[in-house]
Symmetry: C2
Subunit: 121 residues, 2 copies
Amino acid sequence: MTKQRELILQILTHSDRHLTADEVFFLAKLQMPSIAMATVYNNLNAMTDAGMINRVHVDGSADCFEKDTDPHDHLRCTTCGKLANVSLPWLKDRLHQAVGTDISGYDLTVHYICPECRKKI
Amino acid sequence: MTKQRELILQILTHSDRHLTADEVFFLAKLQMPSIAMATVYNNLNAMTDAGMINRVHVDGSADCFEKDTDPHDHLRCTTCGKLANVSLPWLKDRLHQAVGTDISGYDLTVHYICPECRKKI
DNA sequence: TAATAGATTTAGATTTATTCTAACTTTTAC
DNA sequence: GTAAAAGTTAGAATAAATCTAAATCTATTA
């Protein structure tokens, strides 16, 4: 647990939204100007592998990272692109039944219009 | 419908698997050596937008394309990476119920070990 | 405390997938 | 048959992520 890793973990912990590696890098640089992009990626990858943080693949743009490692899925606003978490505890079993073979997991993003964007229409 | 677009569509129609833009380019070049990568991407994007073909986002590697435009989801082998189609007609309604708000769609990839890879273990 | 091995970080180059640009070619419309 | 529009081409550009090699930090042993 180096200073760099600690800083990156702090940033994710205190963010109220999902952050890209680029955003983490920008925020980290404010507090530690010498930090390198490769360090951010190294640590995000290492912490993801260790199960300390969660990587979210976003179609057509950069991956995002979040502190929340409880199993959950994502809603993505088709207007502003923002991600929200949603818990679908029934889904994995239901998929296992439907597919008929053992599944190790799945990746789901549901497309919707978030409450803020819905207001603006 | 240019010659190039027709060729690309033929390639997708006659392929038994999901193809990346790169693979389409390679196969197209065999029959039309002058074809450019940009043309492949232009046409894949245009045909995707027109609903003639389907783009599949694959975590950590290049997008794939397929002729099948019936709504369906994907299984991805965690060992060899190959994609298979699966139909889950109940899922969209079930997600709509669970999320509680209108959803325009979703993206799902289920991780499993395909029959061929399973044999080799 | 000094030497050293191992891990980590840094800066920058590299890779990969994709898009952009500008010149050229083909097609279409008059 | 010519002009405008659309499409293609080659290569440059971009963005996300990884790799490399040198530098630095950390912990351990002497």
